[in-house]
Subunit: 137 residues, 3 copies
């Protein structure tokens, strides 16, 4: 097995960044399973629909209502707030959504469905450089 | 490693379909890890209790209240609605629940706990043929 | 590949137990992917921040509000209640949070980010002995 690759992805505040192509390019040939792992606890990885951008904005809107910023009165009981109102909600969203993805690979290509894309989901308000690790077994 | 297998599972509207046996039958002998991957973005895979069917109906009821159809006034802010009131909620549920499962295999058998079963969780109202990919590494 | 290892972890009621070191100790040398699997349906595995303990207590508080005990009037529609008010909520939390984790391994060490730890998340009120399976491929 080749050594796992570490990639850096720049995010631009809350929302999804398509990483399908950069993960695909990091895969060696042959059959197996691709493991994609995010080295952070206030962002997530996600497989979602790649066709209609409204799916992404709706998902972001729904999640922001389920886990509002700590400035929202409904979140006043939270204590981990000194890094900003988006900090603890970021950790909660990161608990609910995946930190790693496991995708079968056939002939060096991920066996994704037609409408599936791989995304990095940023939960913090500001842009971040996020590291992901790609391994194939 | 044998080539990953692609299986088709018929669902019958919202709820869980037990796929433990069909995944088990697709596994080659020996130790390793089974990866089960769903090629869709409005259904999920899930490991849950296999004993009391009330667990499944309660889980379905709870999730339907957390993510109601877009005909529910509380969901009026969503925009991706043209495929029906169960469409965007299906994508949200698919974000919250797993798209892939990774299960250690010992002597060709998944190392599941006594009360664990593997399920395909349909989020759309109508029956669908869903493709899952099973790989062993 | 060495045979997957089965470890037992004692929990102490609702909350997170750090399992990073015991999982690390079970990994054979070399590159690959570690799969950590929990053999239960009322507890979870989770990768979360390992620095500020407030993150863990806040996460527990948020999840307890999203999925309150079945003694809470808002949960009166649930039917699987005979094992106690923490039983069905435990299954719901176990559906929302991971049952397995997949982590790339470089030179025998998990490629975790600086602030990431591995946790067993108990959802039941009483202490339990929980089995986890660790495999490396």
């Amino acid at each position: 097995m080749p050594r796992p690759a570490i990639l850096t992805v720049r995010t631009h505040g809350p929302g999804l960044t398509d990483i399908t192509d950069c993960v695909s390019a990091a895969l060696p040939p042959g059959d197996g399973v691709a493991t994609v792992f995010l080295r952070h606890t206030s962002a997530s990885l996600l497989i979602q629909e790649n066709a209609d951008p409204e799916v992404q904005t709706d998902l972001l809107a729904w999640l922001s209502r389920l886990v509002p910023p700590t400035t929202d009165p409904s979140m006043a009981y939270l204590t981990h707030t000194y890094e900003g109102p988006d900090d603890m909600p970021g950790h909660i969203k990161a608990a609910l959504l995946p930190t790693s993805l496991s995708i079968p690979v056939i002939d060096g290509r991920m066996a994704l469905g037609t409408w599936q894309g791989l995304y990095l989901f940023e939960h913090r308000d500001r842009p971040h450089d996020r590291q992901i690790v790609v391994a194939k077994t």
